[in-house]
């Protein structure tokens, strides 16, 4: 059984949220880490290469940030956000990108089963939640994406750097004005909060990958780096740089 850190930071600001994920990506000496978090205030995160102009509804979120990961925009409200940071040599991430998604998504599907949802990879059929022109991650789908009821329910993206990876994920717990028509957990008759889904995700990952999680806080170096690195992600020059 392998030891992992479980870092929980509910309600943090967007700068810290993105800075800490980059700090965890840098932390080559740290054990693999699963981080569970949420946002305050509600925040729109742009994909690393995405243009702000491609997200016409961006002014409806209370804060803006650019992620270190690619893909479409996400409105971080009523959701569980998580990140996984580890080495690319880890068995979960070794090999092609697509295979790493299949492994992680199998664990997420198991967690969602605990919330009463049968999530499966989209496969070749487009989803009812696919919509052109919004720039939102949840309105675009790929065969790897997890969906239920014909709608995308989990957003995910990876950043790979210096032999390490940070894997971002969002699981929607409720509606957002910017992400209409996507799969949410309350829509299936359950009403969990981020902490409950976070527990299900932690348990599913522990079982699926034979991991032992130890609750921890980021160390002083990581917290310092998070604040230092986080400044860039909310800097208007960076947010509007594409």
């Amino acid at each position: 059984m392998e030891s992992w850190r479980l870092v929980v930071t509910w309600g943090a600001d967007p700068s810290f949220n993105m800075g800490l994920d980059e700090a965890l990506l840098e932390a080559a000496e740290a054990p693999p880490t699963l981080r569970l978090y949420s946002w305050s205030p509600d925040t729109l995160s742009l994909g690393y290469f995405q243009s702000l102009a491609d997200v016409p509804g961006h002014d409806r979120a209370r804060a803006l940030v650019r992620r270190i990961t690619g893909g479409g925009a996400i409105h971080h409200v009523r959701e569980l956000t998580f990140s996984i940071a580890t080495s690319l040599d880890h068995p979960i991430y070794r090999g092609p990108v697509a295979e790493s998604y299949a492994r992680v998504h199998a664990a997420i599907a198991e967690a969602l089963r605990g919330a009463g949802v049968e999530a499966t990879p989209r496969g070749t059929t487009p989803l009812d939640s696919d919509r052109a022109g919004t720039g939102m991650c949840f309105h675009t789908s790929t065969p790897l994406d997890l969906a239920w009821a014909g709608r995308k329910g989990v957003g995910s993206a990876q950043r790979r750097k210096h032999g390490r990876v940070v894997h971002h994920g969002s699981i929607k717990l409720g509606d957002s004005v910017l992400e209409t028509g996507v799969a949410t957990l309350p829509g299936r008759g359950t009403n969990p909060g981020p902490a409950e889904i976070g527990t299900l995700l932690t348990e599913a990952m522990a079982k699926h990958f034979d991991l032992a999680f130890e609750r921890a806080v980021p160390d002083a170096v990581e917290r310092g780096r998070a604040r230092q690195l986080g400044v860039r992600y909310i800097d208007p020059a960076f947010v509007r740089s594409r």
């Binding site: 690393y48 290469f49 270190i68 990961t69 690619g70 893909g71 090999g95 092609p96 990108v97 697509a98 295979e99 998604y101 790929t142 790897l144 995910s156 993206a157 990876q158 950043r159 790979r160 750097k161 210096h162 032999g163 990876v165």
Partner: protein, 140 residues
């Protein structure tokens, strides 16, 4: 029975790094690209999965091991590294609009940047055969 061939399936006119870049001497400069293995890791044989590539400005000075660009596949953003320190003298701008070139011809049309090295001494890198051995060991 014939002895198994030790000939590499990858070009032997260049050197390779553990982070899957290739470096080929081009007169006084070097061309840098990424290997077929790296491309397949990103897009799993589906060239449409490569969506964005950001290359440096001509004239930029790069240190050995520095990130010179970034490439995005549908589900991952990865950094591109230079194993050689020097100045960017040319970029393959066609790549930024036609990422499929990387899948179709990573060895020739798929070069990414041309660098004028700071030094004639090049760092230790692998030849094609050693790179293939490295990949084979990586699988186990």
């Amino acid at each position: 029975m014939a002895a198994p061939s030790t000939r590499s399936t990858r070009p032997d006119d260049r050197k390779y790094t553990e982070s899957h870049e290739w470096v080929k001497v081009d007169g006084e400069n070097v061309l840098i690209g990424i290997t077929d293995f790296a491309i397949n890791e990103l897009c799993n044989g589906n060239e449409g999965d490569l969506v964005y590539c950001d290359l440096p400005e001509v004239g930029r000075a790069l240190d050995q091991g520095e990130t010179f660009g970034e490439i995005e596949s549908v589900k991952a953003v990865s950094d591109l590294y230079t194993p050689i320190a020097g100045e960017v003298v040319e970029i393959n701008a066609a790549i930024e609009d036609h990422l499929e070139i990387l899948s179709k011809d990573p060895w020739n049309q798929g070069w990414l940047v041309k660098i004028r090295p700071n030094s004639k001494d090049s760092p230790k890198m692998m030849d094609a055969q050693a790179y293939e051995k490295f990949l084979a060991e990586k699988k186990h």
